[in-house]
Amino acid sequence: MFDINLANDILTLCADKGADFAEIFAEHNKKSSVSIINGKTDRASGGIDHGMGLRLFKDGRVVYVYTNDLSRDNLLKTAKDALTGFEGSKKAVRIINADKCDTPHKVLLQPSAADKRAIVQKLKTAGEAAQKYSALITQTSVGYLDSEQTVFIANTEGLCRTDSRTRCRVSVNAVASSDTEKQTGYFGPGALKGAEFIDTLDLEAIGSEAARSAVTMLKADNCPSGVMPVILDNGFGGVIFHEACGHGLEASSVSKNASVFAGKIGQQIASPLITAIDDGTIVNQWGSIYIDDEGEFGRKNVLIENGILKGYMVDRYNGMRMDMPATGSSRRQSYRFVPTSRMTNTYIDSGSSTPEDIIAATEYGLYAKYMGGGSVNPSTGEFNFAVNEAYIVRNGKICEPVRGATLIGKGAEVLLDIDMVGSNLKLSEGMCGASSGSIPVCVGQPMLRVKKITVGGR
């Protein structure tokens, strides 16, 4: 997708003018989206993202330029401008060929070749199932997104790789209404797959479940406030690790000593029940990567083993600062962003308790069935995330539903407070926003219990 000679010319120019390191990231991304509101297609759009970013290192600083005029003249001029003020001269390793892209994340049907009409018909079943679930469901919206991204990455060390990443995602929203209130239920499954992904989904079940959640919340009382034990269900419950710990293990904050987990490798930072992994290699999983956005192969990184901190997620730039090798964790939303260390599919591994054991062992607390998103300040470890559907647990039994809870705490404390870990690991898809943009990730965990956490109810 990018001329090797031009790549060599740009990289050689950068080295000749004294860049310690130079890297080309070129991208072509064909996207489409559809939204269906109350059973009718409401919006359909698509387009082409197309551009190139050039990253240079010089004496510890980063220079980044991007453009979407990929003509030879403009790219050489852009490179020259970026090199203003550079001194000295280095050597670039000449690229002969781009490595063959041998991605294990196979695509059976490229979305651009798929019949959108047929996809829309299938998606409608989710909205219909939601409508059918209850007369209280007054609105439904079903969304669909795909992207076919091809990238070309080359650097002055002779690395030259291409990759194509095809992703599809569906979102299902159901709104339940009474005279005075509206509540919502939501699911958003996605995969690193083509349009065949749609056929793997039980859209009817997803629609009914979104409706059930909305109706349940419409009838629920407000969640009580205070400090209490909280049971987080599997799947999206993993947002707790993502926020409370994951971001703090990214080299971008660790390298500036701006993380509560900086300098703690080998130390006990979590309950011994916790083993946490970031795994970019799971085949066709939403957050997976064959190569990351600086051309390193994605891999399975053990972050925490039995409560002991084992490693960070490291990109090339912060790795230089920390004197640590890159871990295949460097990601960016598009050529418009400087890549940095990010998560892929991050999860707490299965433990030995059954979900039934965990509920039965809890005298009083909150059972959070579905979670929403959250955020964290890595410097202080203060995190928050929303609970979309929750229940009070009393005497070892799940009782009445409650709504509107947010859970808050400090990462370093909450990891030590996990006292039961279930055996039913599951991953869930989401989007994660940070300095290098919004990227697809999975969070995951089995059901687990936190001894005490501040529940923000009303």
């Binding site: 698509g46 387009g47 330029v65 453009t67 406030s225 923000g456």
Partner: protein
């Protein structure tokens, strides 16, 4: 620009020949410079120059959309075919329009030649000043995680087969400081930003100092007991909260049943001192513009006046569906998006209370200065929110100590009726939403 003009003409001609009844070309280019300083040195230096366009057109009465960042004649067929396919997928009965003009456009000033002349070296100097100001504010400020200055420029042009031909240029500078303060093993972090449309206004030292002050003020913070409190939500934090619920005032959301404000125009929905205004012509506003992404002239709109819901914001489509005039709010987030509805410089009007008067009136309670996790903890449709918050405890009308690790929970539609007093300090937050500090009664706080 001549290249783009020719490209537009070819594209629109070809669209007509391929069966589009009417069609529109929207072009956006931007360039930016951004410098990060870390420990007195340039850490990151970014520059960009990008452009892209979107095409939309009516095909059998349905609107088809397609965009591209690849701008050359070879792409024209792909774009037209893509838009046609998309038009053919649409099933709703909405009547769509391409605007033929006729309105009066306000004369606004969004371009300062001095700003476009700012060099990367000047930005680096500003950023160094900002970092130094934060570090020099107090020895407990240990590092400045972000000392960032960016300058940007954007150009928009819009042309269609109904003869519309508009363009607008704007530029700005943003300064951002994010610093860390440490004391007795405790770490706090906070930031401050400045948005400038004139070079003479740029004051990086002020931003650095304010970031340091905000951060230092939180050292020694503790939680408070769970319970019901009277609280002041400070201007910027209230702007953050308001931002989550503005979509309920958009005509399309109302018509499709996603807003609880449906059928409530003319009703009192909020405290009678509350007035909500959207003003696209405000001098120096982040969203100041003369026309929206459909080419409709923008205008000042009053959404809530003295507590009474007066109107919704519309694009051409939702206005026609409501049988009303378009309000000039048919915006795209970028050329890549389809036309939706968006507020411009939206704000709650200031009241008359000084900060001290608000504090004395509060007497005992909390001053909330920051709300976090708004994308998750606020449900834009139900109005429910439960948010991580920090701020200060107030006793006998005086700020006593910093507070953290609490949540503030209520419902948007309820809280706008729990207003006790409104401050005179309206300020726009980093997202371009403005609010004064407001004293609310009996709000649920979760803490220890």
């Amino acid at each position: 620009m001549q290249y783009i003009e020719n490209f537009k003409n070819k594209l629109l001609e070809k669209a007509k020949a391929s069966g589009f009844e009417s069609a529109e070309f929207f072009y956006q280019s931007s360039s930016s410079k951004k410098i990060n300083i870390y420990e007195g040195k340039v850490e990151k230096n970014q520059t960009s120059s990008t452009g892209g366009f979107s095409f939309r057109g009516l095909y059998n009465g349905k609107m088809g959309n397609y965009y591209s960042e690849d701008i050359n004649e070879d792409i024209i067929d792909t774009v037209i075919e893509g838009a046609k396919q998309n038009a053919m997928l649409i099933e709703n009965d909405d009547k769509e329009f391409i605007y033929s003009g006729g309105g009066e456009y306000a004369k606004i000033n969004t371009y300062d030649a001095d700003i476009s002349d700012i060099t990367a070296e000047e930005l680096a100097e500003y950023a160094k000043t900002l970092e130094k100001a934060a570090l020099n504010a107090d020895s407990r400020v240990t590092k400045v995680l972000a000392a960032t200055l960016s300058a940007g420029e954007a150009y928009i042009s819009l042309g269609n087969t109904a003869g519309l031909d508009l363009n607008e240029r704007s530029n700005y500078v943003i300064a951002y400081a994010d610093c860390v303060a440490e004391e007795n093993g405790e770490t706090k972090e906070n930031g401050e930003f400045g948005f400038y449309m004139h070079k003479k206004d740029i004051d990086p030292a002020d931003i650095g100092r304010k970031a340091a002050e905000k951060t230092l003020a939180m050292l020694g913070a503790d939680s408070v007991k769970t319970g019901e409190y009277d609280i002041i939500i400070q201007n910027e934090a209230l702007g953050d909260l308001l931002d989550c619920f503005i979509g309920n005032f958009y005509g399309e959301n109302v018509q499709k049943g996603f807003s609880m404000l449906k059928d409530r125009i003319g009703e009192k929905i909020a405290d009678e001192r509350l007035t909500l205004v959207d003003d696209p012509h405000m001098e120096g506003g982040m969203a100041t513009c003369a026309f929206d992404s459909e080419g409709v002239p923008t205008r000042k709109n009053v959404l809530i006046e003295n507590g009474v819901l007066k109107m919704f914001l519309h694009n051409l489509k939702s206005a026609a569906a409501a049988g009303e005039e378009p309000t000039g709010n048919g915006f795209k987030q970028s050329f890549k998006s389809t036309v939706g509805i968006s507020a411009t410089n939206i704000y709650i009007r200031s009241g008359d209370k000084t900060k001290n008067e608000l504090l004395s009136e509060l007497k005992n309670g909390l001053l909330i200065t920051e709300l976090s996790g708004l994308h998750a903890g606020a449900n834009s449709i139900s109005g429910d929110f439960s948010l991580l918050a920090s701020g200060f405890e107030v006793k006998d009308g005086k700020i006593t100590g910093p507070v953290e690790q609490i949540t503030v929970a209520d419902n948007f539609y309820t809280i706008i009726n729990k207003v006790k007093s409104i401050g005179n300090d309206m300020k726009f937050n980093s997202g371009g939403v403005g609010a004064p500090s407001v004293l609310f009664e009996k709000i649920s706080i979760a803490g220890k």
